[in-house]
Amino acid sequence: MPATDYQGTSSAPFANIGRSIMSLRRDQVHVHSMEGSHDGAGHEVELEAFQKQVADMFQSLLAAAASASANDELLSLSWIRKLLDSFLSCQEEFRVLLYNKSQLLRPPMDRLIADFNERSVKALDVCNAIRDGIEQIRQWEKLLEIVLCALDNKNQRALGEGQFRRAKKALVDLAIGMLDDKDSGQTLANRNRSFGRNKDHHHRSVGHFRSLSWSVSRSWSAARQLQSIGSNLAAPRTNDIVASNGFAVPVYTMGSVLLFVMWTLVAAIPCQDRGLQVHFNIPRHFAWAAPLNTLHERILEESKKRERKNACGLLKEIYQMEKCSRLLSELADSVQFPLTEEKEVEVRQRVKELAQVCETIKEGLDPLERQVREVFHRIVRGRTEGLDSLGRGHNPE
């Protein structure tokens, strides 16, 4: 199934934990036949297993983020890919859990599933926006390639003013490109012939590049979309739980997980009108509540840090791009020609760091994009199946 496409560079066993728990349970219990009058029998095991899987997933993510290895730092490309990988297994288990359960056709499940489907559809637009954001990051990385090309010392020639100018040009474009949407408004205004000529920097029209690359209308807002996904997401009431033989709980769980994952993506990746004001009011008795809340807090903390406040995305690699390019820019401004030995060493160091960031980004973006697309597909599939089974019942969609 999904494993081979986007397995991260580390932690292969991680992704399979959830799956193996479920299959263990399944072997023991054999409850996947058409339900007739045996409602409730044998489901507690499945339901518990699902809750445990979700809790384990968040614990793992938390642990990975806390680990010493720089690879899996919170909000790094690799960590995000882990997040999506676990989300996909979660979705799959959820689907299996609900497969062929006759509860789905009766209240309250019919309404709860319909709500969940609505939430999922809203997540689709987020997936598309994230895809745009990934493309945005690619563009920045391409600018950095220019910098690397300019300052790379492969042919052992001393770096001169020309190379630095070239690098500087690209760095300025990058800085403009990475401005938050609101700030880049002025640059959008100058879409005329003299645009290329009237600035000292000769920067390319990267500014309006940004808004052109959003494939949604100007009024679309990631923040609003997240709010929408989270609206009326509340733990099920006792009578709903009883009436649905407990199945109301995984629906709530999956809804919360969906919200968290979408929220994290919006936090990490640039998109139109990013806003992180989403609250998770998860009752404490859920095992996954604590790790989810911890992750939520830590990501929020990150967003409030001074150096990240105006970031257009909290992805670690974006920060690294910013930092490296800023340092290089300063360096480029401060150098005198010919370069001293000291300066040369410094430049080489910075370039090496930059090359590393670029490498990480180049390796990680395509798989990330594929994962996001896979999430999109799974959501659509789940919804289609949901619609089909509802249609057989007596409720209009």
Binding site: N128, E145, R197, L212, S213, H377, T384, P396
Partner: protein, 610 residues
Amino acid sequence: MEPPERNRTSENASMRFEDAEKIILRWNSTASEDAREKMIFETDRQEADLYLQAVDEIQRSLSNASLSDDQSKATTIQIAMARLEDEFRNILIMHTAAVETESLTGSTHSRRSSTSSNFELEEELILNTEKLRELQHCESSDSSSYRSTSSIREMDLIPPEAISDLQAIAMRMISAGYLQECIQVYGSVRKSAVDSSFRKLGIEKLSIGDIQRLEWDALEGKIRRWIRAAKVCVRILFASEKKLCEQIFEVAETNIDDACFMETVKGPAIQLFNFAEAISISRRSPEKLFKILDLHDAWVDLLPDIEAVFDSKSSDSIRVQAAEILSRLAEAARGTVSEFENAILRESSGPVPVGTIHPLTRYVMNYISLISDYKQTLIELIMSKPSTGSRYSGDPSTPDMDLAELEGKTPLALHLIWIIVILEFNLEGKSKRYKDTSLAHLFIMNNVHYIVQKVKGSPELRGMIGDDYLRKLTGKVRQAATSYQRATWVKVLYCLRDEGLHVSGGFYSGVSKSALRERFKSFNAMFEEVHRTEAVWIVPDAQLREELRISISEKLIPAYRSFLGRFRGHIESGKHPENYIKYSVEDLETAVLDFFEGYPVSQNLRRRSQ
């Protein structure tokens, strides 16, 4: 490195280095007002050629030079490249007008026949008697104004002189190692041109949420426009951009033109595709079927061209998405047919007041007639048989279809038959809600007859449904007619029976006068009742109406005539015969003509025949 071929001005094989350097520095835009304001390639052919020559000279000397004087040369090259980048951008911008849409849409004829009708329906199916609506059936206006783009047609987006300038610049930039800058500039300018064209073609940036919230009427219009626009985009716009890249970067390695093409077109392509994807994901609802099929067919048509235009490795994701969209549209079509079937089963409005054709019947029959118009597409899309029995096994009274009898039929045909089966089932349910069983039978007769007429009226539909099933349906019509007659007329004719009237004794004096009088009174009362009630009922089909009346007459008139003939004497010999023999045979014949016309009749029948 060779000097460029198009160097007409200088007879000298090469320029001196110092002169070259001077030229480059002169055009350094930080150096002078002049350099900032003017563009070399706009100014003067000679200037441009000289500049290029200068660049070539610096490049050449750079590759031959020793390390020591490298620095300044590298700087000079950078200045030159920065300048060339601006020039490149400028040339592109000058020739970037969004392509006129009129010139984009060709006049090649539409594929769909101009008689194909687009069935526009009201929103949901009827849910209760208060909301019965008229269903509209209207011709689409798009077939006449439909100008489709039926094959790839590349346009020249930029005039040839500009192209050779761009080529010349690109070549220098690439060989100086400034490839990325070149791609960046190219991509950003051309992309804005494509976006501009998109706006002119009316392609909107709609999110999935936006599309879900749109009313079907509005959405339908957008789909139509999108189909037209998509053809133009793929076959003309994208193809032309690809050609342009190939032209400008012709001298470079093959991947560069591809990189530029994707830089320009990837975003817009995905934006275009997103719309089709959103439609394929939207809620299933019956009225959407035909537009979805149109979209599906258009996409099938377009796919080979998408594959042709996006044929490189870097455009894998585009081709993949295009294929995904196709299968989603197919899925959407299937799901919509299912939803249609479910909707029929769920539809729970009551029967119509006077036993006429129920709007559900009309809707369903018109819908499946239209389905048979789309037979070519649907026959490939609908791959599984309808699930008939097992799904509803818990339910005692479910529609049923014996698949064994229907061997050799395509899944599509089976679905159409199934649809008729569940329609009938629904109608049966409705008929049971009439208080009057006669009316119930009449209702069934009318509606099943309508079904039969509609099937007969469409050769495609008839071919798929098959004459066997048609015969079954016709049989049902006859049966219903018979049941109706029994339900209404048995009791009326019962009044005219012989038994019970004779008392023991001789021929003449053997008739009980009182019994006879009762009989006449009953008959009159019953007939009046039936007449009053059933005149208001409707049998819409003229022929059926006539046949039914004739059938009634055939039983009623001879019976009455014979009764009158035998027993009128007895009544007329007593008091007030007019109280008992109210009607002549002619009166009754005339009265029968009132039946099923839908108009209420006056109480007094008799007056008319006088």
